[in-house]
Chain length 337, copies 4
Amino acid sequence: MNKIRIGSIGLGRLGLQHAENIAFRMRNAELTALCDVDTAKLDQAADRLGVKRRFTAFEELISCKEVDAVVLVSPSALHTKQIAQALDAGKHVFSEKPLGVTVGECKAAEKAVEAHPDLVFMLGFMRRFDESYQYAHTKVRAGEIGKPVLFRSYSQDPEKYIAGSIAFAPHSGGQFLDMAVHDIDLARWFTGSEPETVYAIGGCYAHPEFAAYKDGDNVSCLMRFRNNTMVFLFAGRTAPHGYNVETEIIGTKGILRIASVPQKNLVEVLDEQGVRKECSVNFLERFDTAYVNEVQEFVNCIIDGRKPEVSVYDGTRVSEIAYTCKAAFEQETLLHF
Amino acid sequence: MNKIRIGSIGLGRLGLQHAENIAFRMRNAELTALCDVDTAKLDQAADRLGVKRRFTAFEELISCKEVDAVVLVSPSALHTKQIAQALDAGKHVFSEKPLGVTVGECKAAEKAVEAHPDLVFMLGFMRRFDESYQYAHTKVRAGEIGKPVLFRSYSQDPEKYIAGSIAFAPHSGGQFLDMAVHDIDLARWFTGSEPETVYAIGGCYAHPEFAAYKDGDNVSCLMRFRNNTMVFLFAGRTAPHGYNVETEIIGTKGILRIASVPQKNLVEVLDEQGVRKECSVNFLERFDTAYVNEVQEFVNCIIDGRKPEVSVYDGTRVSEIAYTCKAAFEQETLLHF
Amino acid sequence: MNKIRIGSIGLGRLGLQHAENIAFRMRNAELTALCDVDTAKLDQAADRLGVKRRFTAFEELISCKEVDAVVLVSPSALHTKQIAQALDAGKHVFSEKPLGVTVGECKAAEKAVEAHPDLVFMLGFMRRFDESYQYAHTKVRAGEIGKPVLFRSYSQDPEKYIAGSIAFAPHSGGQFLDMAVHDIDLARWFTGSEPETVYAIGGCYAHPEFAAYKDGDNVSCLMRFRNNTMVFLFAGRTAPHGYNVETEIIGTKGILRIASVPQKNLVEVLDEQGVRKECSVNFLERFDTAYVNEVQEFVNCIIDGRKPEVSVYDGTRVSEIAYTCKAAFEQETLLHF
Amino acid sequence: MNKIRIGSIGLGRLGLQHAENIAFRMRNAELTALCDVDTAKLDQAADRLGVKRRFTAFEELISCKEVDAVVLVSPSALHTKQIAQALDAGKHVFSEKPLGVTVGECKAAEKAVEAHPDLVFMLGFMRRFDESYQYAHTKVRAGEIGKPVLFRSYSQDPEKYIAGSIAFAPHSGGQFLDMAVHDIDLARWFTGSEPETVYAIGGCYAHPEFAAYKDGDNVSCLMRFRNNTMVFLFAGRTAPHGYNVETEIIGTKGILRIASVPQKNLVEVLDEQGVRKECSVNFLERFDTAYVNEVQEFVNCIIDGRKPEVSVYDGTRVSEIAYTCKAAFEQETLLHF
């Protein structure tokens, strides 16, 4: 079987991780090209990963015949344009979230994907590929917890990264778009349903800087889904203990909790602080394997000639929901979908 | 020092427990009288607890000179009337929650209490007297977790008591009044603030019987408090694992969780089910010591000539809030306080 | 029913707690007399607990007709003599551990107890009355974990009390006699068997002062019991996290762990240290309820005219075993019982 | 950089996993040859992993010029002979544990390794490459827990694999050699010291079949190390809950516990059994990443021209210790090293 030849675009923190994963941790795939506008960064990564084809222009990479598929880890504002370009160039496309920065962009991406039914398009909702989330999802779908009653999910970034969060605030789209999108995706995935109403609140509890962007450092929302599942989401930037992504699904027959303690590993420390588990520091540590699994699934889909479970429409839908949450938050009101 | 002589009214499950606590587990107090309409039950309890004065009529008990104080564990509908009568008879009064079944009743109780400034009145919000809640509260008030961001609290009754819950449904006032009142009290106690808005949802996920009373078997609400703390409450009747009362207070500097696993004791079982903790079965097991502590505080207040932290106004306020939550739930809308 | 009138001897830390428990937390018992050589301490405690009969001489207390039973919390060296005197004076006797400081003393105590078959004698192995240990014991005896394979038990005092431990070292009898006796009692109670061999090691890892008494600051032993259960005990004085008493019983069908995290309460703290539980600080905090339960059982036995499960022979047997452990440790060898 | 070309020998359960890891999860390595006497198994694996060079004879594989290094997952009895042959053929060697089935074999392996100072030899003590063990080891070596006092380590296989264990019993060498060797290695690695004495006990608690081989289904030993650390090891075949490998290191300043709950993943289940974590089923699940990491380290050593931390002498030393434990167990006595 020939390996899928992948070109990876963008060498920020997550981009570098994706590139490294493709180079070293993937089956039936090889990293054949890299693209970044920063040539120093590009050469350093390419040298380390043994990649010969190096591009500073996205257009050149997608013209490369030795590339079957691209992995987009470029700035969010470029996603939909690059998705369309890559598909038009005949490349399979894996794009990091968000699909686009406006719902309009997402709709355009849908058209681009629809125009290329023979190509694989996949969006990077990595949590679906985390083994714990998968294990829980299998149980839920098997009916082990009965009918879903309450879905609760938190996304908390550590306080120690707050400077970066503030710097990124003008471009992040706010907490609901930047962070809660993953929880929104999970809520839809676990409940198999869609929101009907949302009430959102929050504020700047520690960092007034976010107010300038009509955002808070911590926000939450309560949604009623069509199947009547209650959905409570919380997103924050000031977690004292680490990177905390936890989810609880309360059903009529059982309850599942995923990562209610964001433990770094299996070590427990007993000292003058008590008995404690140290915590994951960031998304790369927590979702290390999930990032491998999702791109592996992308590769497998290409090889098997099938489409990923996560479609372009999921990307649009999640964006629409996040925008509505954001609007509810800004207007301090209850909104209907 | 003379012991405070207590007459206890009502010998249901909790009433019996209070009577036993007063008889055997209290300092500077003695159980001198019991009252219940069921004479068989009355005699059985009085014999066991060594109580001579036995009454089937509340009015007779409060006429008894050998009674300094009463503990009301009578049906909710009788609370405010009995509070007034007992105070008028010169007795200190400890009343189980709820203060009254309508806000009007609560206001009447306020007047009765105000008319007797020399007598101690206390309402039974026992969670405030649980050692874990007290420990957490001390930390919060000492500023250890910074500014409160999110207060989340659950009250879940085990599914195995569902028949009783359904039978009681016509009189319970619904989940917000029957169960969430404790969480509402905790939210006010921990945040030192009051709600401004509420959105409430829920439904009958397993037991349609509750719909007849405009109630659900599981409900939740999201409230914004005046100090901008987000407050998420969840109450349910279908907990698969046991009696689950848990609370999380997320602050800007730290997070506290109280009883996120409702462990029965310190035993961990490792068997074919995995590694597990068995759970508390009901409120009497979980709050065993808290029920002692709260009445002890009532006794201490009488002896020390001071007023309890939990006032009659807390009772009214919590009822008002619960009624507003209930209204938001019934109207499926956002309400302002 | 008349209350059992108890005289309590010794007002050290544990003695005060017992006195307070008898005064305020016991059924069918009252604290009628106190004894301590320190008159200031005696008056302070007696005033606080409302006790009129105050003695500085043990002999006077046991002559008092208003005393039915005594609780001995006096220095260990006095136990067996006082047990005999109290029994001869017609008093029921509850004695704190150890039964005696030599096996010879224990044998003498056996004779004293045998000479008074109508009186209740009970030894204070409080762990048997801790609700978690009782819960586990019930499961083990019901066969839920199958046949016992390994019994492991730790007794660790916090490092912060090390000065007191060093000061007490000349009189403590060493770790096996002072601390591990509780674990030895538990091992016999849970396995229903007796040791056949023991190998013991340890040393002064942080505090060389214990060496002068042929003791260590941390010691352990491995014993084979007659029913072939493996028994591993560990006792230490340098626990960094708090007062740690934990036990694991591995059976062929299941495993039980009691208090593997010595949690202070149900609060979990999430902060820059990670996710943690704070720990119990000492035996009074950890076994608060067990100390009440054991004396309550003593009282119940008197009332019911039955003998406690913990007999004087248990006291002797545990002492014999502890002395053999100590000898194995001192001789650095394997000993047979 | 050229990739290290690896031939893997033995396609049992672990052999298959190693082969797959080398093929898909390794940096700077490729799987170029496979060897197994079972041709059907060989072809199936080679087809799946895309390996062309297939051998039924070990001698042929090591003659292959396209092989730089071998990974031995063959039967234990063949290890030392194959190690010598492969080294003589100029191949780097990674061997699964045990090094040899007798100490004499181990000594012979030492000579073979010494005869080829230019080649890398590494033994598969995978636990050292588990991220949790590594994290703990770093803390211990940094002095975070002070001086080591007690090292406790368990290796428990699930009861559900008992049939396989019994079938393998004639060849396993017994619990100390087959299972406890990993704990022995960890004890030496964490304490930096060697045993001086050992007392070992155990027996057939559920499965008398092991007695025929002078073995037990559960065994334990207590060792004193030269630096006076107490070392308690337990190995068993009847774990009810899953594959349980846990370690505790008690130091004078802190305590570390690794995997005291052998959790399968981050999912917590709340149901009628209580609150529980499901457990790892076997070593492949628990040490999935460690198996990758150890062979990666082998590859890195070849590339970097350095020797692994785990030497051939560690293999010999661990075997010697395990044999002494076994002898102590068989003779029911205390032995000195």
